[in-house]
């Protein structure tokens, strides 16, 4: 294989100096290393590490000053906490811990730097290439590029006195988004205004052919919920994109993959074997496995599980607007429908929900100390949270700081911490990585204690990526790596 590619984030004050010295001393170490100088390892965000893997790195090295020698007091300990948490996140995603290393290398330790890089390169060579970006996550993996609307979208407003036509459709979802529409109750007619619902499998009987027969762009707006899990859903997304002047991603699954995206932690074979080989209620562990036999009997008849990963709608079709939430809260939904159908719209691509983080709407906001430090992480299963105090201040992960508001009272109103269904704030690509970084940065203790504390967060992927795994930088678990 080609030399493994290592991206190395090196602290300006120590490891970078060591690397420099190693070079000047002509110490032998592999040249496939891409060094990135940072002022402190405490500045290396998990999102950046994930990005490096996504862009093709086989390994990432973070190297900084020995504990006690940080030029910024304890930036290296922040790096240690993030490393501990992110390493376990990566492991859950099938990325070996050997691919992500944290080392303390002083400015005079050129030999040690060279040795670390040599050793890591050997270890990566044994592991083989990672190819995180090749895990079916990229647009290029799909059968064609995202369908574009036939013309610049003029908005969904009334045209020529005719009633605007709208459609509702579902991909891989639970039906909760439909319930959310019904939950608008007597508000629904006014939210729809003059729009005529021409397609909605829940309530109306219409066939796919009736949509295909429409001229392109005939629908003023389509509200499409659910993640894209099957090829068939990809087709629907493209078809509805073509027929609609506005395509609206409706709910968390369409927006970020949602709970359906957690399925990216398992492969089809594992799901089948769990269901038909390991379930304790089976009448035997040697019965048929449905998908496999059906394939044998039916030539090209494969079962509908074709895309390697669940994807958010925007990976398949260009999305004009997004209504976030699992499902969208009634107030958010009613307002978004009104705006879309009356043409009172922000620039394309906007998420139609308040831009502020959920914390701003939280009654516990005043209880969060200015300087938050966590020395323990209580387990919700065995703890009664204080209803008047910020969950994070109590050491319980709450996604509020990284999540859009709009759902209130929602989970917080029920005295439960946020899990992030409202999706990321403006400009944040990977809210899971951001929140992981934030929580790790709050942990206090020496290096050993930081390791213990981060180990108490037993399920980082399920915690930080509950609703956003499919749209996260890593997107899902790959093969063995």
């Amino acid at each position: 294989m080609a030399e493994p590619r290592i991206v190395a984030f090196l602290c300006h004050w120590c490891a970078y100096a060591a690397a420099d010295q190693a070079g000047r001393s002509r110490l032998g170490y592999p040249h496939s290393l891409l060094p990135v100088r940072v002022m402190c390892t405490g500045r290396v965000e998990p999102a950046v590490v994930l990005r490096a893997f996504r862009e093709g790195a086989d390994g990432v090295l973070v190297a900084g000053c020995h504990p006690g020698s940080c030029h910024y007091v304890d930036g290296n300990l922040r790096a240690a906490a993030r490393h501990a948490l992110l390493r376990r996140t990566l492991e859950q995603l099938g990325v070996s811990e050997r691919r992500f290393r944290l080392e303390w290398i002083g400015g005079s330790e050129a030999e040690r730097f060279a040795a670390v890089v040599r050793e890591m390169t050997e270890s990566l060579r044994a592991l083989g290439p990672l190819r995180l970006s090749a895990r079916g996550l990229d647009e290029a993996e799909l059968r064609s590029s995202a369908g574009r609307p036939p013309e610049p979208a003029p908005g969904a407003g009334p045209e020529d006195g005719a009633r605007p036509k709208v459609a509702f459709y579902w991909n891989a979802s639970c039906g909760g988004c439909e319930e959310a529409v019904l939950d608008l109750a007597e508000e629904l007619p006014s939210a729809l205004g003059r729009a005529e619902v021409v397609f909605w499998p829940l309530a109306l009987d219409a066939k796919r052919e009736s949509i295909e027969a429409l001229p392109d762009g005939a629908l003023a707006a389509t509200f499409l919920n659910g993640a894209v899990r099957l090829e068939e859903q990809e087709d629907w997304a493209r078809l509805l994109r073509r027929k609609s002047r506005l395509l609206v991603a409706f709910g968390a699954c369409a927006h970020t993959g949602g709970i359906v995206g957690l399925g990216n932690l398992a492969e089809r074979g594992e799901i089948l074997s769990t269901a038909y080989r390991e379930a304790p209620s089976l009448d035997g562990a040697d019965g048929p496995i449905p998908g496999e036999l059906a394939r044998v009997g039916g030539a090209d008849a494969t079962l509908p599980w074709l895309l390697p990963h669940a994807l958010p709608l925007s990976r398949v079709a260009e999305v004009d607007y997004t209504i976030p939430g699992c499902p969208p809260a009634p107030a958010v939904l009613a307002r978004a429908l009104r705006r879309i159908l009356s043409g009172d719209l922000p620039p394309r691509g906007a998420v139609l929900a308040p831009a502020e983080p959920l914390c701003q709407a939280c009654e516990r906001r005043g209880s969060r100390p200015v300087r938050l430090e966590l020395e323990a992480l209580p387990d919700l299963a065995t703890t009664a949270p204080d209803p008047g105090v910020c969950f994070l201040a109590q050491g319980m992960v709450c996604m509020g700081p990284a999540t859009r508001r709009g759902c209130e009272p929602g989970c917080l109103g029920a005295h439960m911490p946020c899990r992030g269904c409202g999706g990321p704030l403006e400009g944040v690509d990977d809210p899971g990585a951001a929140m992981l970084s934030a929580v790790a940065s709050l942990l206090r203790g020496d290096e050993g204690r930081l390791g213990e504390l981060s180990a108490q967060l037993a399920d980082p992927v399920g915690t930080f990526y509950r609703y956003g795994l499919a749209s996260g930088t890593a997107g899902g678990r790959g093969g063995k790596a």
């Binding site: 639970c174 499998p201 099957l230 068939e232 009448d283 019965g287 494969t302 387990d379 299963a381 399920d459």
Partner: protein, 487 residues
């Protein structure tokens, strides 16, 4: 007969009720199957998650019945952590759950399955929907339906955090007590829910029960299935949704089994067929005997009609009177599949009456609503009655509470075997000489929609829509005809 089952690549649409019919040489029905071409991966991708998160995660199995998964999961967690919630917490969960049962059952009647019985199978598909029902039963009804649903959903949201995917259940109880405003609202709304449920039963009696077509359909052999019935009952043998032991009665109504959640594996096993993702539960005592009905078969039914059959009586007075009226007309146990609709409305009335009773409980404002687990988590089973039948959540964890095994046996699964027989019977009755038409489709559809199979659980679609496709194959397996409706 050729048992060659194929899954037609053209028609693999998520959420399709896909029926395969195999004809014999004369063009009559040799076999018929309903396939569910969708597999939930929840049991797999929940592994490694903290068990305490399961009530919130599994609510997403189904947006129609998230409350059922949420509460079943909470019961499983009580068992996993070996902690018994205080009675106050049980009451709040139960109150919430009764609100949900009321709302879901009422929704089904007006929006989903009701049109079949109110309008009949001969009504054209374009009219067999909620609007058709309202046309027939009166325009004013529309407002009442929307209002009743909203009253119940708003209360559910106020108790559980959100109307759609609840978040309030934890091992040992719930996350917060009720407040005085909530209790006042509950007491104000509860009588309206009772009225609505009673009114709906009357509307049913008026619109469907007096219709000769419904009565004729009730007695049609295609719509009758003699099976065991299973449902939860309380210590006095009354029908229970939230807490109880499973009671199984045979087709003649004799008690055959009674078991608690922890021993479900001793009594229930699942059979796998290669042509569908759904696993078919059956009674271990009888063993798997294929898709056959009768007292020797291990298949059993769950859901409203089966629950009424399995319970000695209802838990509330007006519902009990209505149940007696139903059994007086049909006999007990009742095996007419279309009586599921009737039983569903009787249950909606019990749920509403129970909301009213619980809303007036003197200790409803008790602030102590959670007992904290003190023991290491291990393994536990939660069993509740979802609208569509018995729902089981079975978890095993490591000592940190991370899941190492998850097994879900969902309501629609228990009925999957009986549904196959219903489909076959209906197909044999309406398809002859290779001929099938729209009317036949209606009959087939009606036969399985009565079960209210929750395809959101089984295949992520909604029960009412049920786009369906029937493929007719000759004895050699070649496709003779495909009839499709829906998307």
């Amino acid at each position: 007969m050729s048992r060659r089952i194929t899954i037609d690549p053209v028609t693999r649409l998520e959420g399709h009720g896909k029926v395969e019919v195999i004809l014999d040489e004369r063009g009559d029905v040799a076999e018929a199957w309903l396939q569910v071409p969708e597999l939930r991966g929840f049991e797999r991708f929940c592994l490694g998650r903290p068990a305490v998160e399961m009530p919130r995660i599994t609510a997403h199995v189904c947006g129609v019945c998230p409350a059922a998964h949420h509460i079943a999961s909470a019961r499983a967690l009580d068992a996993v952590y070996r902690v018994e919630p205080p009675e106050s917490a049980h009451r709040i969960r139960e109150l919430y759950y009764d609100l949900f049962l009321f709302e879901d059952h009422a929704l089904h009647f007006y929006y989903l399955g009701g049109p079949d019985v109110v309008l009949g199978t001969r009504a054209e598909p374009a009219r067999r929907n909620v609007f058709g029902v309202m046309d027939k039963l009166g325009r004013d009804l529309g407002r009442r339906v929307v209002e009743a649903r909203k009253l119940a959903r708003d209360l559910m949201g106020s108790i559980a955090g959100r109307a759609a995917h609840p978040v309030f259940a934890l091992p040992g109880g719930v996350s917060r007590p009720l407040g005085p405003d909530q209790v006042a609202r509950l007491r104000e709304v509860a009588p309206k829910l009772v009225d609505f449920a009673a009114f709906t039963l009357d509307a049913f009696a008026g619109g469907a029960l007096r219709s000769s077509e419904y009565l004729e359909m009730l007695s049609r052999p295609a719509f009758r299935l003699d099976h065991h019935s299973m449902g939860l009952v309380d210590a006095e043998g009354r029908l229970a949704f939230y807490r109880g032991t499973a009671r199984v009665v045979d087709p003649a109504g004799r008690e055959k089994l009674r078991f608690g959640p922890e021993s479900y594996l001793e009594h229930i096993a699942e059979h796998v067929e290669p042509w569908t993702y759904v696993k078919f539960p059956y009674l271990r005592s009888h063993g798997w005997r294929g898709f056959e009905e009768g007292p020797e078969s291990g298949l059993y039914r769950v859901g409203p009609l089966a629950r009424l059959n399995a319970a000695e009586r209802m838990a509330s007075p007006r519902a009990e009177a209505e149940a007696q009226r139903m059994f007086a007309a049909l006999g007990k146990p009742a095996h007419q599949t279309l009586a599921f609709h009737w039983a569903r409305l009787v249950e909606a009335l019990q749920a509403a009456e129970e909301v009213e009773r619980l809303a007036h409980h003197p200790d409803l404002l008790d602030p102590d609503v959670r007992r904290l687990p003190a023991e290491k988590p291990t393994e536990g089973v939660g069993m509740v009655e979802a609208p569509r039948g018995t729902l089981l959540h079975h978890y095993r964890t490591d000592e940190r509470g991370l899941l190492t095994m998850v097994n879900l046996v969902v309501a629609s699964q228990h009925n999957a075997g009986p549904v196959q027989i219903s489909i076959r019977k209906a197909a044999r009755e309406v398809i002859h000489g290779g001929q099938v038409d729209e009317g036949a489709l209606n009959v087939l559809e009606t036969a399985f929609r009565a079960y209210d199979p929750c395809n959101a659980c089984a295949s992520h679609s909604l029960p009412g829509e049920m786009p369906m496709e029937v493929t007719l194959r000759g004895p050699d397996g070649e496709v003779r005809n495909i009839l499709a409706r829906g998307t």
